[in-house]
Symmetry: C2
Subunit: 220 residues, 2 copies
């Protein structure tokens, strides 16, 4: 069913204060389902990491000091992204991890973190629709796609796009068949009730209200 070798694949997902849980959980769930794969939730310290709502706390399974050569690296986004863009220690760790990774990936504003680590220079990438104004500074060309692959770097659009991206990633890490199996295991057959989930499909009023909601959440 897969073309795995006997060596266990190591996945490192970076979590940090103020990340958006849903950015991370889809990818985590899919990657944890792959055969011969060990997923680590990596943080700066072993303290509980509070997500952007201030409600959900997630326990890291490893610190940055424990993990240096994962096969797959993923960074989620969220309001906490802005602080990580200034965190030299985290950005240095990401640069190091990227040197030996097979895949370096992001969801939502996580791509800005890859950008701040200098990994997107000259590349095409995507990010959260509401954060494209931050993207100029990283030397990348940001486009509105569900996910974008550039060599071993894959960036996904906002939040729920992480599930799309990681199913693609599963097909690359294993094969199409296991990716199809995972789609069914997640019953991933979505039917958005309103169809306003893309900025290209939402009215200006809905877009402005969404921007206000995001600002309020980021401020809180």
């Amino acid at each position: 069913m897969t073309s795995e070798t006997s060596r266990e694949r190591v996945v490192a997902i970076l979590i940090y204060p103020g990340f958006t849980a849903l950015d991370m959980i889809g990818p985590y769930d899919v990657l944890a389902t792959l055969p011969d794969t060990k997923v680590h939730l990596v943080a700066e310290t072993s303290d509980l990491v509070m997500t952007d709502t201030g409600i959900l706390g997630v326990q890291p399974t490893a610190t940055m000091a424990d993990i240096s050569t994962p096969d797959v690296f993923l960074v989620p986004g969220g309001p906490g992204t802005m602080a990580v863009l200034e965190n030299k220690q985290v950005l240095e760790w990401i640069k190091t991890v990227h040197e030996t990774s097979t895949w370096t990936t992001s969801v939502c504003t996580g791509s800005l973190i890859l950008g701040a680590a200098g990994l997107l220079e000259g590349l095409i990438a995507t990010t959260y629709w509401a954060s494209q104004q931050f993207s100029d500074r990283f030397g990348a060309t940001f486009v509105a796609e569900r996910y974008v692959q550039e060599g071993k770097i894959v960036t996904a659009a906002g939040v729920s796009a992480g599930v799309n991206m990681v199913i693609f990633l599963a097909s690359q890490l294993a094969d199409d068949e296991i990716a199809q199996v995972i789609e069914l295991a997640l019953e991933y057959d979505p039917t958005p009730p309103f169809g306003t989930g893309s900025i290209s499909k939402a009215t200006e009023k809905i877009a402005n209200l969404a921007l206000k909601l995001i600002r309020d959440r980021t401020a809180a």
Copy 2:
């Protein structure tokens, strides 16, 4: 934008050992985004609750003793469901909570828990596609829908169907406009890479492999 009163809405999401994180995180994220809404992650004790992968631990924010009259109750599914079906204390708490709730909801095999609490007698409901064989015993008629509303009870299909269901729920708790805003905030414009996320769309081979994967995960 909403028809909220000044009273804060209380949401209780039950978490238990072996629940599937993705069942819970979509609903949690959407409900935590609604104005004037307080979301509690409720467990039997205040200990960290380990999800089905054995990797992700979630910190409860309240115990069952703390919360008795939430407006909205939601229970996720996962391999841990089977133990909850036998847990009289949890089932009694759910019965009590349901007496005064405005909405009682489930994702994935969470509907079996509602069934075991006696809440689905004579109703139409849905559950995870791979668990319909357990559904006979609760006096409900299980159907293959993304989500099913019966009065104040809403049951969703597997895992990612929770996001579908909770956007509907947001439209009921607030209004269509805020539900549309949330779809955009989550960039919920999914394009499943393989289109095998429903048992009605997957081949028999993919279905059998998915059942094996689910069995392996449940056994682990």
